[in-house]
Symmetry: C2
Subunit: 94 residues, 2 copies
């Protein structure tokens, strides 16, 4: 099994958690601070921070400081299109 499959599976696995996926979709193609993500998702600060670390370790999101905030954005914005595409595919299948 090529290393490619491992990498691919890892990304999919990281995205395969409802809370993380919610965070990713909430970030969208823009960038959002942790506080904004807490509000948008309704999750606790600790939990959002925990998931953001997982997303960052997987290089799915990247960070940038702006004033007192740390802004998260997708490192591969096209990921959103892929997720949308998958979402449509699933809905068609029902």
């Amino acid at each position: 099994m090529q290393p490619q499959i491992e990498d691919l599976a890892k990304i999919l696995k990281v995205l395969g958690d409802p809370n993380r996926l919610g965070i990713v979709m909430s970030i969208g193609k823009s960038s959002r601070s942790v506080t904004e993500l807490i509000d948008a998702t309704g999750l606790s600060q600790t939990l959002v921070s925990f998931h953001l670390r997982v997303l960052r370790d997987a290089e799915i999101v990247k960070t940038e400081r702006g004033g007192p905030f740390i802004y998260y954005s997708l490192s591969m914005p096209v990921l959103l299109d892929i997720i949308t595409e998958l979402s449509n595919t699933i809905n068609l299948n029902k």
Copy 2:
């Protein structure tokens, strides 16, 4: 959080295992018997069977009997395109 996100996350989670992803990619757009999948992946019969059940429960694959064999195929073949797309995206990012 909409139910849609849950469904989407579930699919991603199921695909987010290297062995399962290998099985899915091995099936591709054709259909393969369990024996063929065992050969293609190098996994044990029990393990392949185990993962196929997970894939089937998630409605990612469907089955069809042909003689002594049970053939597995993707219930949404376009899934492969999406996986390929994701794969390309990840590789570009390195």
